[in-house]
């Protein structure tokens, strides 16, 4: 048994309100992550990550999911495999990733060097009333990715660590996953188009020149 497993038996007390005090704000962080990256190919998970990405500027090379929960990472994987010369960023939330946790092992098997996953982890299902996700207790998503063979994984908790992540995300060997602990707070809704066929066609036209 590893220390980690044995440690679990201690079941440390969990502070359910801690995420309200996380210092990183998701909107400025996402804006800085996408700034000056016009060629970056982006897939977002449904809900707040899609609103965050849109608040930073609606763009053709972003495919925001409105559903298909659990699909963001495998969608990013397919895109990364099809476009090995481009950088692919999956921007998603903790609840969305938890629904498709097996995809981390699928990516680990495939090892796409051009893929990054950034998890905006507020330890909440923010769209449905703020119920706690598993990351509010013991699930460590960066550790899961590392255990699946991702070469670069990290969890950032401070604004200066987040700034450093923005500067160095693509320097680390890929696939890379960063969990960014963001404040549990309500931001204004900024929604992308919700017609999926439009989103798909405009993405392909931007990348391939034809829908």
């Amino acid at each position: 048994m590893s220390d980690r497993i044995e440690g679990r038996h201690e079941t440390p007390a969990v502070d359910a309100t801690r995420a309200e005090r996380f210092p990183i704000r998701r909107r400025p962080f996402v804006a800085s992550l996408l700034a000056g990256e016009p060629d970056l190919l982006v897939v977002t998970g449904l809900g707040a990550p899609a609103w965050d990405a849109t608040a930073a500027g609606d763009r053709d090379r972003t495919f925001p999911l409105w559903g298909a929960m659990g699909g963001a990472v495998p969608m990013g994987l397919g895109l990364a495999l099809a476009r090995p010369g481009d950088r692919v960023l999956v921007l998603t939330g903790d609840g969305e990733l938890l629904m498709g946790l097996g995809a981390l092992s699928t990516v680990g098997y495939q090892q796409p060097a051009n893929l990054a996953v950034v998890v905006l982890d507020n330890e909440r299902y923010g769209e449905t009333g703020g119920q706690l996700t598993h990351t509010a207790r013991y699930t460590d998503l960066a550790a899961v990715a590392a255990a699946c063979g991702w070469p670069s994984t990290t969890t950032v908790r401070t604004v200066s660590e987040a700034d450093e992540l923005v500067r160095q995300l693509w320097d680390a060997p890929g696939p890379r996953l960063a969990v960014v602990k963001v404040a549990a707070a309500e931001d204004p809704l900024v929604m992308p188009p919700r017609d999926g066929a439009l989103l798909k066609d405009r993405f392909r036209r931007a990348v391939l020149g034809t829908a």
């Binding site: 895109l79 495999l81 099809a82 495939q110 999926g196 798909k200 391939l208």
Partner: protein
């Protein structure tokens, strides 16, 4: 060690069913570059061909629904693909099939059937008997194939409807084509 003995010791792949080669040709002609799959014994020969083809990327999945998203992502990047699974995997895909329906992503699915004809594992029957209905209810055009010679032409038709028109189509390769899993005659408890 004599060469003949070395050869005999190597695990020989079972003979390839006659539908596999023409079906693989059809898929390649349709431009398939990605094969995402959860394996099934009935798909083994086709998957071996995929793995031997340098121009094709094979993506083993942890659950079938991932494949719907992987192929949607590949299509965003300009690559066509096929999703292969056993009938029991169809139920896993339902919510992710919304991608194909709402975004009109082309989605070509090959399903090898269990629980349909001569099945000796009753746990395969619930999805085996409902896979086609589940796919149709989810907005996927569904073609059921009961004869080996019909597999390749049906895949060709489904691929045309998928990649040219957009939308989702599935070819269900029946257990009459695949054959029922034999299970060892003496097997009792503990058989898989």
């Amino acid at each position: 060690m004599p060469e003949t003995e070395t050869d005999a010791a190597a695990p020989a792949a079972p003979p390839e069913p006659s539908w596999v080669a023409p079906t693989w040709e059809v898929l390649r002609a349709a431009g398939v570059q990605v094969v995402a799959f959860v394996p099934d014994a009935g798909l083994a020969a086709l998957l071996r061909r995929a793995e031997r083809t340098d121009a094709v990327t094979t993506v083993p999945l942890s659950t079938e629904e991932e494949g719907v998203a992987v192929l949607a992502g590949a299509w965003l990047g300009g690559a066509a693909g096929v999703l292969c699974m056993q009938s029991s995997g169809v139920g896993n895909c339902i919510n992710l099939l919304s991608l194909a329906r709402t975004c009109r992503f082309p989605l070509l699915v090959l399903v090898t059937m269990r629980g349909q004809y001569g099945e000796r594992n009753p746990w395969q029957v619930p999805m085996g008997s409902t896979a086609a209905e589940v796919l149709r209810a989810s907005g996927v055009l569904t073609f059921e194939v009961a004869h080996e010679a019909d597999v390749a032409p049906t895949v060709q038709a489904a691929a045309a409807m998928t990649f040219s028109g957009g939308g989702a189509a599935a070819v269900l390769i029946g257990q009459k084509v695949i054959g029922a899993k034999a299970f060892a005659p003496a097997a009792t408890e503990g058989a898989s």
